[in-house]
Subunit: 373 residues, 2 copies
């Protein structure tokens, strides 16, 4: 794992390494995923989660699918493995038909795309893999696919540092920041989006206090965000999601800072359930509401947030906890994983291109031009 | 226990009977509390909870303290016990000095008043006990105290039915109601405040759908409200507190209906943490926001909600669940039990006197006059 970041996700010779986030903070366990099915399961069950992180995981899932196919059609070899420095390990690719290989790529992209519906980064990463994984022969296809997957990961880490640098000036000495869910190293390549801003401000020597919404039902705030921040020596206090209003309404919060799972062309943001009420409270009590996200989270094919699909998750995430029933047998639950915050409630979106104040369709179209360059 | 109501609290010959709400919905266990210390512990640890219910419990706690004293100073008798129909059981009170008895009353009132700081009904009930528990001799003091305690309980049940009748017309056929925490039979003498309205509408034959916020940290919504409503055959769905915004913002809720723990002279309402954000969302998305409470919940000695003391509860209610840590060792939590909703966000308060639309200081002063009559 690389220095100074959380070991959220990495790839090493045929293995996708993730820290199992369902076990945090109790246990820090690194899982080695060796098949595309295992990667898809890990995304679906939130062992790896966070829009940028699942984009990277899915790209590596496609890579592992390719390796699996190469090894299968080249019986007798020790198996093919990609390596970040050495390229393809396991011998030359000879006599592999590129047709069936391309089908394997398509199939693995389909499998990955069906894991979770809301995060834009997942589909963005898979689109990049689809475009890259071509070639006049199997060897070229493999080289291109591996290059794309590693680039998605490397780019993401660079962008996170840029988001951190653009956003850090917003965090003044003594600032009290409220965040929701986990938009930190565990949600990304290891540094974060919303939390990258806090990490950069912290590195620059400023002191501030963070309030982390626990984020029901799966408690990513108390389990993951508090864990990340306290590991870095940042002052963090957890609270029930419903208690944020009492802080915001009484001038005890200077800014709310969250990540995003998908941002529409007009600036509407889908993010973890519970983001919208924070934005409404910020408007009511005149507290700035910031969203941090890389360009890969934007989906300009969707005109507005209303078009963003919202994942509904199983009722028992709400009606059970740690094996204990929290509602009587037979009681149903409404359990959407995300909500939609209208652009009009957002003070600024912080991207790798800078701070986009009062985001709207025009400003996002400009970003889109810039991203294409 | 009486018919048609939940066995939240009752009194029988020296025993305060409560259903242990910390065990619901898993187990329906009736506790028999036989000392004022046990009653105070039950209130503090939320075995009995809800503003009206703890008022009744505290009144009976004073009664038990009196019995305890009588039995102590009359060694050799089988013990004195009050009875709802028979009066004092255990013999005539002879030669009991009223001075020490009055001190026992004062001491038990002090003990009960220190259990929880926010609910007005607790202090209201204790004030009534203090005023009533006087007499020219011990026997008269005892009769008066017992009369007051039974009256507090009986009146409460009548008021709840009146609240239900006044509020029921608001619940139209097909209505979708969101509620928070538990303002039902379990919070009261057995019928409810907010939920009394739903029970009355249900009895009148209207069909409607209830969404019950789970209400972190102690999950009174999923554990208690869902249990109560489903027992009566009312359609109920639980949701995380943070998911209410997604329903309210998308026109899937017709009204929000909650109880109250204390209402100031200007109409500001203290209620379970998470009430304020619902009221702000209702204002933003033009959904009616109703509060149901008996007059005993009003505290006209306080000019505004800012003066209502808010109980802060232990951090581990947030950082642990069912014995499992939800945040890393050493992480602190902000855990207020209540928040304050400004009167300006309240569509109406439903009391035993009727529906008070757009509550303000003038309207509440009129109620105050009426309550005095």
């Amino acid at each position: 794992m690389r220095q100074g970041i959380i070991p959220t996700i990495d790839y090493r010779k045929g293995r996708v390494l993730i820290i199992d986030q369902t076990l945090l903070p109790g246990e820090e366990k690194i899982l080695e995923l060796v098949s595309p099915v295992a990667v898809a399961e890990a995304i679906r069950s939130l062992r790896v989660r966070g829009a940028p992180a699942i984009g990277i995981a899915a790209a590596y899932g496609v890579l592992i699918a390719i390796e699996e196919h190469l090894t299968r059609v080249s019986a007798g070899t020790a198996g093919y493995r990609f390596d970040r420095e050495e390229g393809l390990v396991g011998g030359e690719i000879v006599g592999v038909d590129p047709g069936p290989l391309a089908e394997v790529v398509d199939e693995s992209i389909r499998m990955m795309s069906e894991t979770r519906p809301t995060a834009a980064n997942l589909f963005w990463a898979l689109d990049r893999m689809r475009e890259a994984a071509v070639g006049s022969d199997a060897a070229e296809l493999c080289r291109n696919a591996a290059g794309a997957a590693f680039r998605i990961h490397d780019d993401e880490l660079r962008l996170e540092r840029e988001i951190g640098e653009h956003g850090a000036p917003l965090v003044e000495e003594g600032c009290r920041i409220l965040t929701h869910c986990n938009a930190g190293g565990l949600a990304t390549a290891g540094y974060g989006t919303a939390l990258a801003i806090l990490y950069t401000a912290h590195r620059e020597g400023r002191r501030f206090r963070v309030f982390a919404d626990e984020t029901r039902p799966l408690l990513q705030g108390s389990r993951l965000t508090a864990w990340e921040l306290s590991r870095r020596g940042i002052d963090v206090t957890v609270l029930c999601d419903s208690a944020a209003a009492s802080l915001i309404s009484s001038e005890r919060i200077d800014m709310v800072l969250v990540g995003a799972d998908r941002i529409a062309a007009n600036g509407d943001v889908a993010n973890k359930i519970g983001t919208l009420p924070l934005a409404v409270l910020c408007e009511k009590f005149a507290v700035p509401f910031y969203v941090a996200a890389p360009w890969s989270t934007f989906d300009t094919s969707l005109q507005s947030g209303a078009m963003i699909p919202i994942e509904e998750r199983p009722a028992d995430e709400v009606t059970r906890f740690a094996g204990v029933r929290t509602a009587h047998e037979g009681i149903g639950a409404y359990n959407p994983a995300f909500d939609r915050t209208p652009a009009g409630l957002i003070t600024a979106i912080i991207t790798e291109f800078g701070v986009i104040e009062r985001p709207d369709g025009g400003k996002i179209a400009c970003l889109s031009d810039r991203a294409r360059r």
